[in-house]
Symmetry: C2
């Protein structure tokens, strides 16, 4: 029986990549870390991706997540943005697999359903729910960090339902 579980949530992006680590211990969820990995736009893309990869790898080494939960990106304004998000997703996925993690994607709708109970939840509502579920008093900033924690919570909530 697993009593401990660590989940790394990732809100993927090349400029800004949100991350959040949640530990479930004896049925209780605790946020261990949340923040944003930023890569400078004046840097060349290959170097930015390498920087992102190193930061993600560092998070995985530090928190040893069992699961990496990534947002499934469905729509983008243009091809350039979609390709850039895809690049970030690819990096996170291969880092997760290489470290032996389960890597799973959730659509924004699935995350909203799991965390707020309905697919129409807005950013503010989601941030409040994340804080409530994790017992966090202070506002979660930036929003990318809250989104990433929501992804990790989504995995844990769905697992609870399935088990």
């Amino acid at each position: 029986m697993i009593v401990h579980m660590f989940v790394l949530g990732i809100d993927p992006g090349l400029s800004r990549c949100g991350y959040g680590v949640i530990q479930r211990k004896d049925g209780k969820e605790i946020a261990l870390a949340a923040g944003v990995i930023e890569t400078p736009s004046e840097m060349e893309t290959p170097s930015r991706l390498t920087l992102l990869r190193d930061e993600v790898r560092q998070l995985i080494v530090e928190y040893k997540p069992d699961v990496v939960a990534i947002e499934r990106v469905l729509f983008q304004h243009n091809a350039a943005t979609a390709i850039s998000v895809g690049q970030a997703i690819g990096i996170v996925m291969t880092e997760g697999i290489s470290a032996g993690c389960q890597v799973i994607e959730f659509s924004p709708n699935e995350v909203k359903q799991s965390v707020a109970g309905h697919g129409g939840a807005n950013k503010q509502e989601m941030e409040k729910m994340v804080r409530m579920l994790l017992g966090i008093q202070t506002p979660l900033e930036p929003v990318d960090a809250a989104d990433a924690l929501a992804l990790a919570l989504c995995f844990l909530a769905r697992q609870r339902v399935e088990v």
Copy 2:
């Protein structure tokens, strides 16, 4: 003075990723390898990306390219395709940087200009030019392999002009 140079051209994709290795030795270009890395669509994306990464890494270990030339993808039919291509590009870029290669992108137009002399060249024309420039008698199949060789040729042609 560099007399040897190895360039790995990559036509990126998750389902099919074309590759071509060209050696320039004493001003002459020779194709050392060309082909396609395919990943099975029935496999989960994270595993497909890991497979692609391992194959790209293997090519880099085997041919030790100085340069990795990747197609800059500008348009895609839909966000899902763009994200999937972006994932493949991200993998190739970080593998190249990690191995100490120069990683550079060329637009389809730049490749056509360099290899066929005009940006309007079609697939057939490009394949013929690639074969002519590399002294290859037999048709290059699949087309992804020809595209990848064209990318490597593009890098070498532009370097020649700049030097």
